[in-house]
């Protein structure tokens, strides 16, 4: 997901003035992971615990184009997984780019 932040002022005659609040676009990635084994789930869980939810910062490599974004965080303070059998774990993580 790409996010700009545009402020719009609309006047009585219907005209508008727009200006950007953010100096650049911010990225967000929602990563859905299926068929994880217990080790992979544990590594992900430890990563969330180490970051204390959305508090910590880390660099993230966009899996789409390989671009490294040096200042990212988890988007939520919540992380859950479902384990429906051995090596059948499922989790979703959302990573967001921070303004630097």
């Amino acid at each position: 997901m790409l996010q700009f932040n545009t402020d719009t002022i609309r006047f009585l005659d219907g005209t508008e003035q727009r200006f950007r609040d953010n100096p650049s676009v911010l990225h967000q990635w929602t990563i859905q992971l299926d068929l994880l084994d217990e080790s992979e789930l544990a590594a992900l869980d430890q990563f969330v615990v180490t970051n204390q939810g959305r508090f910590g910062n880390f660099s993230f490599t966009d899996p789409w184009d390989g671009t490294v974004y040096p200042n990212c965080s988890l988007a939520a303070d919540t992380f859950g997984f479902q384990l429906s059998g051995e090596m059948r774990g499922k989790a979703t993580v959302t990573v967001c780019e921070n303004r630097t």
């Binding site: 544990a42 430890q46 384990l83």
Partner: protein
């Protein structure tokens, strides 16, 4: 000690198991999306949703006894996470949580079998048997499984310590995952897991894992907390049981561990 019971199979839970961690971060966000964040680690909450099918009368009785003993969500009990490694700092044996005999020599940064450098070289230069172990506050009477990877440049012997039980294993130059599992007739409220080295022995070890079950699952690395939750509670005050036949019960329950309570 009041603790969550194991099933007759020695397992603490059945699939599917789900766990959710909730942290709390105070965020002050400006109009331009700049953020100032403050962590609140004391507010961390961990929740499990457990489903049990085909429970026997004995298994159900143990669960009901616990529910009545803790009066629903009122009082805490010890819960051993069925989806986690019970040992803390599983890859950092130099942490204080590990009790190493004083003359045991630990060297970190050794290549491990999973491609990293998180293994430790452990040497016993003395003429006595020395131990490296970690103690957890959990009932010693439950079924446990200790597993770890070990190798040695020369054919050697390592002892796996699981409470009062010690099992000897031969190791060689190839990494081998060693497993010691079983149930002890011991009423202690803590249990230690680790290794004992013969005099003069040197070996590499990696991936210490203790689980409240009778077989080893895939290795799960841990940091400052393991899967022992001494302050867990039932999330609700209701325990609903469905019985479809003699000794065929099922139920679902939520368990929550709140740090600040």
């Amino acid at each position: 000690m009041i603790y969550f019971p194991q099933l007759s199979s020695g397992a603490t839970g059945q699939f599917p198991i789900s766990r959710e961690r909730l942290a709390r971060t105070v965020v002050n966000q400006s109009l331009q999306n700049y953020q100032v964040k403050l962590a609140d680690p004391g507010a961390a909450v961990t929740e499990w949703h457990l489903s049990f099918e085909e429970m026997s009368d004995q298994e159900l009785a143990a669960l009901e006894a616990l529910f009545q003993a803790v009066e629903g969500s009122l009082t805490p009990f010890t819960f051993l996470d069925p989806a986690d490694n019970l040992l803390a700092w599983s890859e950092q044996q130099s942490q204080p949580v590990w009790q190493a005999d004083s003359l045991l020599v630990l060297t970190g940064g050794v290549a491990d079998p999973l491609g990293g450098t998180n293994a430790y070289q452990v040497s016993n230069p003395t003429a006595a048997t020395l131990m490296l172990q970690q103690s957890i506050n959990a009932p010693a009477s439950l079924a446990y499984c200790l597993s770890l990877y070990a190798c040695s440049a020369q054919i050697s012997r390592v002892w796996l310590v699981r409470g009062t039980e010690t099992d000897a294993y031969a190791i060689g130059p190839q990494w081998t995952r060693l497993v010691s599992a079983g149930q002890l007739a011991n009423a202690a409220e803590s249990i230690s897991f680790g290794i004992a080295l013969d005099p003069g022995a040197t070996m590499n070890v990696y991936g210490f894992q203790a689980e409240a079950q009778t077989a080893a699952s895939l290795y799960k690395p841990t940091a400052d907390t393991g899967g022992v939750y001494p302050n867990a509670r039932f999330k609700g005050d209701t325990l609903t049981i469905t019985t479809v036949g003699p000794s065929r019960h099922s139920c679902e329950l939520d368990i929550v561990n709140v740090e600040y309570l």
